[in-house]
Amino acid sequence: MNGIGARLPRLEDLPLLTGRGRFAADISFPGQIHMRIVRSSIAHGRIIGIDTAEALEANGVVAIWTGADTADVPPIDFRMAKVDTLKPYRQFVLARDIVRYVGEPVAAIFAEEAALAEDAAELVAVDIEPLKPDIVATDQPGEFAPGLPNNPVVIEKAYGDLAAAFAGAAGIVEIEVAIGRHSGTPLETRGAIARPMAGGSRLEVYGAAKIPHLNRDNLAVMLGLERHQIDLFEGHVGGGFGIRGEIYPEDCLVCLAALRLDHPVKWIEDRYEHLMAANQSRGQTYKLSAAIDPEGRILGLDAEFWHDQGAYVRTHAATVPDLSCAMLPGPYVIPAYRARGRIRLTNKTPAGTYRAPGRYESTFARERLIDAIAKQLGIDAIDVRRANLIAADQIPFNRGIDTLGTEVVYDSADFARLLDRFLSHFEHARILADTALRRSRGELAGFGLGYFVEKSGLGPFGVARVEIDADGAVEIITGAASVGQGIETAMAQIFCETIPIDPASITVIHGQTDRIREGRGAFASRVTVMTGSAVHLCAQRMKVEVLRIAGRLLQSPPESLEIVFGGIRPIDDAAGGSVSFSEIASAASAEGTSLTVEEKFLCNHMTYPYGIHGVQVCIDGDTGNVEVERICVAYEVGRAVNPVLIDGQIAGGAAQGVGGALFEEFVYDNEGQPLSATFADYLIPTVREMAPVETLVTEDAPSPLNPLGVKGAGECGINAMGAAIASAVDDALSMPGAVTRLPVTPRTVRALLRSQQIRT
């Protein structure tokens, strides 16, 4: 009833609806000191001097630090996709000698009030001798520092005989496409509050998000503390999307200041800072070359791309280009493959992950290639896709490459079936006929689609503990985190699937390092798969324990009992005696045990959901504006824990996908000055720019890798949106292959329209 599959309203809504949320800025402690960061206004330069004398005299200022004050603090380390060659490119918490992007922290002000810290920051005189900025990732490489090239690593993944594939090809199709820099830009900016405890021998950190346990471990190392000396506490988090919750310079500075100044220290980022200091993403330029047979089958794919890493390599290290290489082949067989991802440092804000990292980009490139093959051969792009899809009997399909330390093995899939279901459910033929008719009447309407494979459930483990107290209240303590996706509801439903109780009586704990000793947080669409499986295992064990005690109380063998809503009773004896959970909890307490179980779900392989995005657009020929009219998403999720939440994830991701495809871009001028540092310049779609999102969520291919059969849904809404919109714009303009870069701005569209008029 409230278990898996129920369309249960969320358990987490009430405080958020009534203004009682606890977001980072809402947390304050008596005597707290506020931090303000002085940032570089130059994209690349040598620090000649930082004069803090006047600022130190300003009202309320407690301390000011520059790089010299943090000389003993190591750079922020990698937590994923660690590549030793990249280590010299890590960022220190305050710049040392050289600044490498506009927004780089050069000094930290600590003052009694936030406004006073901000006032004092204005008084710090930073003298920087400008150096030549390096802005374009595809330009000739230079140096990051003496002896350190700014193109340090090429991520390479390959399998099959590429030379033979090209030698035997009927044709070769080549494309060059690019995707602009954009990012998650959660509506809550970053924030951190650190509070020294027990005379500075312990530290509490609030405003944590995404991966509190992993950040606890890494912060402890940076601060020279033991792991047990630091705890992180996640409150409400105003959106994650990959960007929020990584360790940034400001997080370390707040912790360090709390310890050194022996006061709580609070930092809340403003939006202007966020848009030039928090991780940016995407920013990849692809060259693809495919060897094909006469039917459009790809025999071999040679891919090269440039990854615009920005000024430093942050916590994700090579994660994004690694995923681009691994996921570029998507749902297609592609018997021979080579991808080379060139990590290129530039004088821009450092890059990290953003929802579907490496997939939004590589799906765009791959699906553009499919459309180009169709164009070159003069056949339907759907037929090209069909010819290349991995067949159901090839599953499990081992791609022969790995990513994030795991082999890429598609665990369960029927790609052709989902394509068929998409085409019939959304009446594809009718959409094509309608848009063609509109074009014949002079409208610039079009439809396009993109096929994608997602990945989810990154291991190596998920952990949960369930406790039922003497009142029968259930607490599920997880090592996961919430970024607003509804994990409390999903975990409660998974528990209720085995033990049917009122979900409202369940409290789900996440992101509290003092409540459970380890956890892997919320990223890579992992919570439902990994933590959900751990909760399921807990529920299974709890059921055994509950029935054992109930059996004793009812003087019946446990196997003769069943758990029903509200208690335990004999099977097939509705009128018989029953016991409640609180009675069982009391009995457990009386026998000296407690109703507590803990389980760790281990899995070293990711599970791969997949889907199709279809978008219908209509272009205004005068302004070049692309209006999205309809978004159709088919998604194979293995098993849907809560269809409402999945639809919500898809719709939200789709909106972000529209943003990246049409509006959002971090633009820099030739000097490396960011031109998109406000929401007036960095354009996030509003409701006016969004179309209704229609979904077809299927459960045709449950994952064999976890006991629930689930696959993640966090990143499915966005994956192929760029690809589908590009294809739809092509179709609307009747110019196959016209879109080679995202975002497709009105300026681009008008240029395409002009080129069309010139040709005709």
Binding site: P9, R10, E12, D13, L14, P15, L16, L17, T18, G19, R20, G21, F23, A25, D26, N59, A115, L116, D119, G184, T185, P186, L187, E188, T189, H236, V237, G238, G239, G240, F241, D270, R271, Y272, V483, G484, Q485, G486, V644, L645, D647, G648, I650, A651, G652, G653, A654, A655, Q656, T678, F679, A680, I684, T686, V687, R688, M690, P692, V693, G717
Partner: protein, 158 residues
């Protein structure tokens, strides 16, 4: 920086006597001086609308208004929407229609929608969507927000 000014604000029908600098934004005054942290700051430059509150019934950006300008007005924030344990129809509709995910933009959308519907109960669907385009949500893709507001509009008209 400068002299603090004594202000008497009326928020959700309650008096708040606060002392603030003239430069204090209404949003900061509500959050820091009145302790009403339900009003959120997403951009502080008037684009995102997370800080939307009602001033004499009109939705306004609390980040773009000085606290001193709000003296003598009736200020309403998200904390004043529910009647005890009973949610406002707009809050209930957001819950029923999954109109929120992370919840950060939610107070702003609630106040925007309530303000619009109280002054224009029979607003056309098109005008309603146009009004809702004042605010940014990064999680939901908006359709459930629109659904929720339409449902609440029905309720509020009754």
């Amino acid at each position: 920086m400068s002299e603090r000014i004594a202000l008497a604000l009326t928020v959700n029908g309650q008096p708040f006597d606060i002392n603030v600098e003239p430069r204090r934004s209404l949003a900061d005054a509500l959050r820091e001086d009145c302790g009403l942290t339900g009003t959120h700051l997403g951009c502080e430059h008037g684009v995102c609308g997370a800080c939307t509150v009602l001033i004499d019934g009109q939705p306004i950006r609390a980040c773009l208004m000085f606290a001193v300008q709000s003296e003598g007005t009736e200020i309403r924030t998200v904390e004043g929407l529910a009647d005890g344990d009973s949610l406002h129809p707009m809050q209930q509709a957001f819950h029923d229609h999954h109109g929120l995910q992370c919840g950060f933009c939610t107070p702003g959308f609630l106040m925007l929608a309530v303000g619009v519907l109280e002054s224009q109960p029979d607003i056309s669907d098109e005008a309603l969507v146009e009004a809702l385009s004042s605010n940014i949500c990064r999680c939901t893709g908006y359709q459930n927000i629109v659904k929720a507001v339409r449902a609440a509009a029905e309720q509020m008209r009754q």
